[in-house]
Symmetry: C2
């Protein structure tokens, strides 16, 4: 990094198989996947699937506030990244189940570690907000 404010060369990432993947690099595909995992609806969808196979409408109820369209887009992105498995059941009426893949389970475990910590530390966060809002 330059001290004088001049632009650094953009980082490279593992597209040629030589360098590690790097979310700090602008064009690294790992940045998209991190976004799918940690985006508002992506994170809640993975979290909702951590224990259960769920149907679309079950997921929609579990993830309060998500629209049908956003949940559908979220599930497509997670399925394409190999984190969620979609299975159409040959029932009448037809039914579609969603569950985490083994990769999705690994990643969701880490994600839940983060979510659990954020929830646990919310009293500190709210105290900080109160002090910030009062001090300005």
């Amino acid at each position: 990094m330059t001290i004088d404010g001049t632009q650094e060369a953009p980082r490279d990432c593992a597209l040629d198989g030589q360098l590690p993947f790097d979310v700090f690099a602008r064009n690294c595909p790992s940045r998209d996947t991190l976004g799918h995992v940690t985006g508002r609806w992506g994170s809640l969808t993975l979290g909702a699937l951590r224990e259960d196979t769920l149907r679309f409408n079950e997921l929609r109820r579990r993830v309060e506030g998500v629209s049908e369209k956003m949940l559908s887009q979220t599930l497509h992105a997670l399925e394409r990244d190999g984190l969620v498995h979609r299975e159409a059941q040959p029932t009448n009426p037809p039914r579609v189940d969603y569950r985490l893949t083994p990769l999705g389970q690994d990643i969701t475990k880490r994600l839940m570690g983060l979510i659990d910590l954020v929830e646990a530390r919310m009293p500190d966060v709210l105290a900080a907000r109160k002090s910030y809002d009062g001090g300005r």
Copy 2:
């Protein structure tokens, strides 16, 4: 959760100090904080600060692709949540340093655990994408 598709009552969260914070509840403030931590620019900003105190322009270079306005908004939200400390140095020209608070360090540690895993598993993600795109 109801099986027949009727609406469940919205979840409650710890606003009255009785229930735990719950990111799955629509109005829980933990959902906002999770969004600040895991949003595209929030996660990269916390990650960039995990080892160093950085100035605004240093941060901007480290988090490739972020605009001045987005970085400024991101830092304000993280500061208000008590995750980032902002310190104006009495130098000439004036200089503003940003660093993680102890709470920010705890949360960033979990976040980096997730980021490291996503980066490490990108070969699997890219293989899944290839298979998904080829199979449709």
